[in-house]
């Protein structure tokens, strides 16, 4: 083989020496890559478009976003959670002590993965026009999904850094995009979600469960409007669920805990759900063969000795739950499934991963998504889907919108639906003092949201939307529940610093104020 090879080379070089210098050399230097397709060879068929879109979904499994670190930003930075991680810098980034803005786990990884996801969406959107589809409707569906995800990631970028650069086409290495204002970012999210909602189906068949539906797009669109206090627009979007096309389609699952386990996934309450899997257990999280598709959160948030305990729940939620009993005078059952806490055995006869309580008196850990129901330890490959948007959230958002629009009396109904599932009295019975007082209703609604959605990554958006972090008085009140907010500087910590390397190397980007 080798001899033959050498002989061929000799022949070639002899030939080259005599006459055919140019032609021989030309073909010799044209060495194709035998390992994979080039971008020019891709984006030709429907299947290519579909695969390109699939790669967007793969972003769910990246540690910067939904398999790990974004929960530190959304859940731990808020007053629901905190960190006592022995990794101090990791903890510092949950208590507004940002020193190194290039801290990978706290900032850059998430920023990087958000833009990776957007890059993948943009590839689909930039290339799909030229791809012939037998059925144009299918093409529209791919486009709609890509737009949905681009909006989805910009939604979270807006929540975290606010003044990010809008990139809506595939970038060249030397592109230095301009910075955009928060308003401009929200406008882009609105546009993409509106486009997506017009195309996406109400539901998918069984084989395609997990793709965004029209409801998912309108749900995020409503959230986007609400962050900007565009209450009328938000109501229009949410009407889809309440008295529009999807009326009666969604419902609360009877058992609250079924929203957080690997059975009953993609159920009637689920509006948008990240599909996790342990199929590639042990696989890497980068774009390498056999990449992992699990969620690491359970490992990072499990109690000390079971997981890393890098994130913990604030205990105030336990007290809050205990303030109101069910109609049959029991504890609110959501408490059991929301946090692990010391009295869980006394209150519910439950244990913590099969263990008796061995931790501090007023300590608590998030339980949603943890797998104690069949395991005694955790690992990096949790298969439990994350119901990022569920119907209970939609109902509470609708109530909030109505209240903001001065329709407080109408808002009760939606809060009561959520309360009814866990056998609580109606709000009117439980809190007769509220009446139609908009402010009081809002205050109570804030707590209703915490009780229902604690640890489900919505709190940071809630605090921002409610304006609780815009004044020192507001921050002081939050700090009552979470002393980390004593470090919070109004006007500064409402957003993260941009990665310093990004600011340093793109003259069009300015670091966020006060950083």
């Amino acid at each position: 083989m080798i001899m033959k090879n050498i002989f061929n080379k000799i022949t070639c070089s002899v030939v080259a020496l005599t006459t055919l210098v140019a032609s021989c050399s030309k073909s010799e230097l044209d060495v194709p890559n035998p390992n994979t397709l080039t971008t020019k060879e891709f984006w030709k068929t429907e299947d290519d478009a579909q695969k390109g879109l699939n790669a967007v979904y793969t972003m769910f499994y990246k540690p910067g976003v939904w398999s790990r670190w974004i929960y530190f930003r959304l859940d731990l930075t808020s007053d629901e959670g905190f960190s006592q991680s022995p990794w101090l810098e990791l903890g510092d980034w949950t208590r507004f002590q940002y020193v190194n803005y290039n801290f990978w786990e706290g900032n850059v990884n998430t920023y990087n993965d958000v833009y990776k996801a957007i890059f993948r969406c943009n590839q689909v959107l930039d290339n799909i026009d030229a791809i012939p589809f037998a059925d144009p409707a299918k093409k529209d569906l791919v486009i709609a999904q890509a737009k949905y995800f681009r909006a989805f990631y910009y939604y979270y970028a807006a929540l975290l850094w606010e003044n990010v650069a809008l990139v809506t086409h595939v970038q060249k290495p030397d592109d230095l995009p301009q910075q955009n204002t928060l308003t401009e970012v929200w406008a882009q999210v609105e546009k993409d979600l509106t486009d997506a909602a017009a195309i996406l189906p109400k539901s998918w068949d069984n084989a395609n469960l997990g793709r965004p539906t029209k409801g998912a797009a309108l749900g995020y669109l409503a959230k986007t409007y609400m962050q900007q206090h565009k209450w009328n627009e938000a109501k229009t979007s949410l009407d889809y669920f309440i008295n529009g096309e999807a009326k009666g389609m969604y419902s609360l699952v009877p058992d609250f805990k079924n929203n957080f386990r690997d059975n009953n996934e993609n159920n009637t309450e689920s509006v948008f759900e990240i599909q996790f899997s342990d199929a590639n257990i042990g696989g890497p999280d980068n774009d390498a063969p056999n990449q992992g598709m699990g969620n690491n959160r359970a490992q990072f948030f499990a109690p000390r000795g079971i997981g890393w305990s890098d994130g913990q729940a604030r205990y105030w939620i336990v007290d809050e739950f205990k303030k109101e009993k069910t109609k049959d005078n029991k504890l609110d059952p959501r408490l059991e499934w929301t946090v692990f806490y010391k009295e869980i055995t006394a209150d519910f006869g439950d244990k913590v991963y099969g263990r008796n309580w061995e931790w501090g008196d007023k300590e608590a850990w998030f339980r949603k998504g943890q797998r104690d129901y069949y395991r005694t330890t955790e690992d990096y490959y949790s298969q439990v889907n994350n119901r990022l948007l569920r119907y209970a959230d939609i109902l509470l958002l609708y109530a909030e919108v109505q209240n903001e629009l001065g329709q407080t009396a109408d808002a009760y109904n939606y809060v009561d639906q959520v309360r009814a599932r866990v056998n609580l009295n109606t709000l009117e019975v439980a809190h007769p003092e509220i009446g139609t007082d908009k402010a009081k209703f809002k205050e109570r609604l804030k707590m209703e949201r915490a009780l229902e959605l604690y640890g489900e990554s919505v709190r940071w958006a809630d605090l921002k939307r409610w304006g609780d972090l815009d004044t020192q008085a507001g921050v002081d009140a939050v700090a009552q529940r979470d002393p980390d907010f004593k470090n919070f500087v109004v006007g500064k910590h409402i957003r993260l610093p941009l990665p310093q390397s990004e600011v340093d190397n793109n003259k069009n980007l300015k670091q966020n104020d006060h950083y």
């Binding site: 833009y115 993948r120 995009p177 990665p499």
Partner: protein
């Protein structure tokens, strides 16, 4: 472009229009000669030319005086010449020897012995596709004597070159099997500073598989004119190595053995009592009440350095036998090298065999050089030099309290909160082994049509079978490790490069005019392929605690594999002209085509020209104490395309997977992950060099000085690109930076050979500056880590917050205001560091960083000293580097106190009662004093170090002859024994391969102290 192409075509056609035929057996081309070198009616004289030791002298010229009749000796020194009569006189000359005249008389079989000349001016220097007399060099070439390299205890050639040649900077080694970083004439390329190695004409690397003992000669081509013959790959300089050949004569056996011990420098770290007291005060200062302090395990007092480091050892055995006769010569050498590392469970072994032989018949000669090596290394897991610092003395090496996590001790949030890695556990639980079986060699043949024209075909081939094995046993080595099962990962790969070179050499004198010319064509193909496999939960035998780490065992299999190919096609030509050895001119052109660059950018032309004037040869020159004086200048272009195989092609990554549907079905995706610049072109280096060489005082003093300006343009680098692109998997390659290096090199050697005590002293100095001309992507600056690179300035300058002493009391804090009266560090406490508010905005923020210092040394020096008296010889090499500001990574960890690590014993923190110190108060969990981006960690990195010292004794020959030996020597030597420096890190001579962070001592593996004993003998 077109013109050059057709020029080549024409040239090649002209040179090959003679009848040709193939010798099928060897696959070689033999071109039948039409030129007869024998005339009629003459006396045929045969004979042999030998040196004083009786070995044949190759390429000596034998000419009949007063005629044009000449012959050249073969490799064994034999010659045949037809002369006019018995009265003819033969003149025998050879480079490096005094010429000799002999009258033929009645002899038809002559034996001529030539005396070697002492002056190195007569040395022949290999310059690529030919050789030149050192005296006639027009470019910058350094020659290093192989003995200088091999007498040190080194694994690789590069490691042995330090301080031996000006402009050649070498750092590293130490770690078993590690390859030193070598840089010739400063930083030119951003990605890779490795010079090109040419071993016996094969373009390769002198990596750890190459035995330095096989070197016969080594030259370093430093400037563009010298290196241009290697064109596109020569931008970082070229190191040409020829391996030892046999000499004709009876078999000669050489053997040597070296044995050495190695020790690592160590940190001075606290033991448990001092550690506990410092740690408690850091917690107390942070406001923690004693119940929140660490519950130290006082029964432990682990010296992690004792647990991790050991005395290393080295053994290096070489034996060779060589000889030859009329028709050919041979050399066979064998080498065994073994290095037990100073870190536990590390080591490197090399077994090598070399066969070099050559023979000739008539105008045809043929030879081959083949080396077979097997190198095995037990690689280091993680970095123990960090681990021993981050582990606390209060942690035991073993800890039986957590059987599920294995037997080793590591951090614990309550008693010893650190994420430090237990280096003993890491090395025992994670096994990384590399094995490379390599065959490297070439086969060449020459046809000498006439004494002045020869054709050479060189076929080079190198292949290696690489085997990598990673095995992770179950168990933890640090706090909070994922509960991983045992994992086995193995890959097997094959690397192959094949080279075909056709060259035609012309070498003729016309009176005082001498012309040497080379034209040639080369083709090189690189090929690599790898397959890998991975399994989990490898079979374990719990009865005796052993695993079965083979891929048949375990579950969750994954596999993969890939292939890489590249082709380089080149045409080259060199013309050397000299007039009376007085005026010297050298012109080179190389045209290279590579498969690694985009379709429109594959070809590059790399011309150079140089000239020299030997003033001392002029009639008017009459300074008796100047033996030789030459001035020279050169200008040339080199290239580099030392990049990945297909960096210019944007690719689709097909590894994405996702799940969907009620059945959670796995589906695959595909997308572009990494961006690419499709218009990648050659990186070019344009260099000017001016120098002079002088030999003075009866050949005692040799002086060389050079000044050069080199501009690297369109450096192929991986520059930061914004994350907003969504790029991942590494920044794409781009022709980004242009960089200018200006430098001055000076070397002088003084030798006194006439007195009883013979001695020599050599010094070489290098002054080097770099300046950024362009950063690419239209950027004016790049910030990488703690460094900033700005157009017009040097690369990678320290860009940091500036400290300004400590606050001694509260009023100093309250009064530290900007011009608007805003208190700048309101949160500070007495004993904290005062940072400069450089932008005056009343807060310490990212805009306050400033360029504060340069990581580049101002100058570097090598000093080589030696003396002999009777049978004793003492030699010494010193190396010094001066003026660099470096970042002490060790202090930045051990002095931070906000995060637990071990501390140094001589720490002197500020307290209300101990205010006369520059060390701030120590506070756990507050990173303001300990922030890594302040100038607190910068230090003067100058040092001067004795790299090597030896004393050798040559056993007197009368004694040896009795036991049948021809020579024997014993030597005792040491490396890195003495260092003068103010630097407080482990080793001022550290390596950081990130060129933007050259001066960042990030726990680099230090230089080791080595003591060794060597014996060497021949018979």
């Amino acid at each position: 472009m077109k013109v050059i192409k057709s020029f080549w075509k024409g040239l090649l056609c002209a040179s090959l229009s003679r009848p040709m035929r193939k010798a099928a057996m060897l696959g070689l081309i033999i071109i039948s000669s039409q030129i007869s070198i024998f005339a009629q009616n003459k006396i045929k004289v045969t004979g042999a030319v030998t040196d004083s030791t009786g070995r044949g002298v190759e390429n000596a010229t034998v000419s009949e005086k007063g005629t044009k009749t000449t012959a050249v000796t073969a490799a064994n020194g034999s010659f045949a010449i037809n002369v006019a009569s018995e009265n003819s006189v033969l003149v025998i000359s050879s480079v490096g020897y005094s010429s000799k005249e002999i009258k033929v008389g009645g002899l038809t079989n002559l034996h001529v012995q030539l005396q070697q000349m002492s002056s190195s001016l007569q040395d022949v220097v290999v310059v690529g596709y030919g050789s030149q007399k050192k005296a006639n060099l027009t470019g910058a070439v350094s020659v290093v004597r192989p003995e200088e390299i091999t007498k040190r205890q080194v694994t690789t050639v590069a490691e042995g070159l330090q301080g031996l040649a000006s402009g050649v900077n070498v750092r590293g080694g130490g770690q078993p099997g590690s390859e030193a970083v070598i840089q010739i004439r400063g930083l030119k390329s951003l990605s890779d500073s490795k010079p090109l190695y040419v071993i016996d004409g094969l373009i390769t690397t002198a990596n750890r598989d190459f035995n330095p003992d096989d070197i016969e000669s080594l030259q370093i081509l430093k400037d563009a004119s010298a290196a241009a013959i290697y064109g596109s790959r020569a931008a970082n300089g070229v190191i040409i190595i020829t391996t030892k050949k046999g000499k004709s004569g009876p078999m000669h056996i050489d053997a040597s053995a070296k044995m050495g011990v190695q020790t690592t420098p160590r940190y001075s770290l606290t033991k448990t009592p001092q550690f506990v007291s410092l740690n408690d005060s850091a917690y107390a200062n942070a406001g923690y009440t004693p119940d929140k302090w660490q519950k130290h395990n006082l029964s432990n007092n682990t010296d992690w350095q004792d647990a991790t480091f050991r005395t290393g050892s080295m053994q290096d055995y070489n034996v060779s036998f060589s000889g030859g006769g009329q028709g050919g010569t041979y050399l066979v050498s064998a080498n065994y090298f073994d290095n037990k590392g100073v870190v536990i469970s590390t080591g490197f072994k090399r077994l090598g065999l070399r066969v070099n032989s050559q023979g000739s018949k008539g105008i045809f000669s043929i030879g081959e050089n083949v080396a077979i090596t097997n190198a095995q290394s037990d690689e280091m897991s993680g970095n123990p030099y960090v681990d021993v610092v981050r582990m606390l003395p209060t942690i035991g090496v073993y800890d039986p309290s957590h059987p599920a996590k294995g037997p080793y001790g590591f951090g614990n949030p309550d008693s010893a909160n650190t994420f430090g890695t237990n280096p003993v556990a890491h090395t025992n639980l994670e096994d990384v082994n590399n094995e490379n079986f390599r065959v490297r060699g070439n086969i060449w043949s020459e046809l000498k049509f006439t004494p002045w024209l020869k054709y050479r075909l060189n076929l080079g081939y190198e292949t290696s079978n690489d085997h990598y094995k990673y095995f992770r046993k179950k168990g933890d080595w640090t706090l909070n490790q994922p509960d991983d099962p045992s994992i086995l990962n193995e890959n097997r790969a094959r690397w192959e490069t094949s080279l075909i070179e056709n060259t035609l050499n012309f070498n003729k004198s016309f009176g005082r005019h001498a012309i040497t010319a080379v034209v040639g064509q080369t083709y090189q193909h690189d090929h690599y392929e790898q397959i890998w496999g991975n399994k989990r939960n490898i079979l374990y035998n719990s009865s005796n605690g052993t695993y079965y780490p083979v891929l048949d065992q375990g579950n969750s299999p994954t596999t993969g594999g890939f292939t890489q190919d590249a082709v380089l096609l080149s045409y080259l030509g060199r013309l050397e002209y000299s007039y009376d050895d007085r005026y010297l001119l050298n012109a080179v052109i190389r045209r290279d085509g590579t498969s690694r660059l985009g379709p429109d950018y594959k070809w590059g032309d790399f011309p150079s020209v140089s000239a020299a004037w030997r003033i001392s040869k002029e009639k008017f020159f009459n300074i008796p104490w100047v033996n030789d004086l030459k001035v020279r200048a050169s200008y040339g272009t080199l290239g580099s395309s030392n990049i990945g195989y297909w960096d210019y092609i944007p690719l689709i990554n097909t590894n994405s997977t996702m799940v969907l549907g009620s059945g959670q079905t796995v589906q695959s995706g595909a997308t572009q992950v990494q961006l690419a610049n499709e218009n990648l072109k050659w990186e070019k280096l344009i260099q000017q060099n001016y120098g002079f060489d002088a030999t003075l005082f009866d050949y005692r003093l040799a002086v060389t000085a050079e000044y050069f300006i080199s501009k690297t343009q369109d450096v192929l680098s991986t520059m930061y690109i914004p994350r907003t692109t969504g790029n991942d998997g590494g920044f794409p390659r781009v022709n980004a930076v242009s960089l200018q290096n200006t430098g001055f090199e000076f070397s002088a050697t003084y030798r006194e050979n006439k007195s009883a005590v013979k001695y020599w002293a050599g010094v070489n100095l290098t002054f080097l500056k770099n300046k950024i001309l362009d950063l690419g992507y239209n950027r004016a600056e790049i910030i990488d880590g703690n460094t900033k690179s700005t157009v017009g300035e040097s690369l990678g300058m320290w860009y940091l917050y500036q400290t300004d002493g400590l606050f001694q009391n509260q009023s100093e804090i309250d009064n530290y205001k900007n011009k608007d009266g805003k208190v700048i560090q309101s949160g500070a406490k007495p004993g904290d560091i005062r940072f400069k508010d450089n932008n005056g905005d009343g807060q310490i923020s990212s805009d306050d960083r400033k360029v504060v210092a340069s990581p580049w040394p101002k100058w570097e020096m090598g000093l080589n000293l030696g003396a002999t008296y009777k049978n004793f010889e003492v030699t010494m090499n010193w190396f010094g580097s001066f003026g660099a500001t470096v970042y002490n990574g060790y202090h930045s960890v051990v002095d931070r106190f906000d995060d637990n690590s071990n501390y140094r014993t001589d720490v002197n923190p500020w307290t209300p009662t101990n205010t006369n110190t520059s060390f701030p108060r120590i506070v756990y969990a507050s990173n303001l004093n300990s922030r890594g981006d302040s100038d607190r960690w910068l230090e003067n990195g100058s040092f001067f170090r004795m790299k090597y010292v030896s004393i050798a004794y040559t056993i007197p020959s009368p004694l040896l002859k009795k036991i049948g030996f021809s020579n024997a020597q014993v030597s005792l030597s040491g490396q890195n024994l003495i260092t003068f420096t103010k630097y407080s890190g482990l080793d001022p001579e550290f390596v950081n391969t990130n060129i933007f962070q050259k001066g960042f001592d990030n726990f680099a593996f230090p230089n080791l102290k080595t003591y060794s004993l060597g014996i060497q003998f021949g018979f």
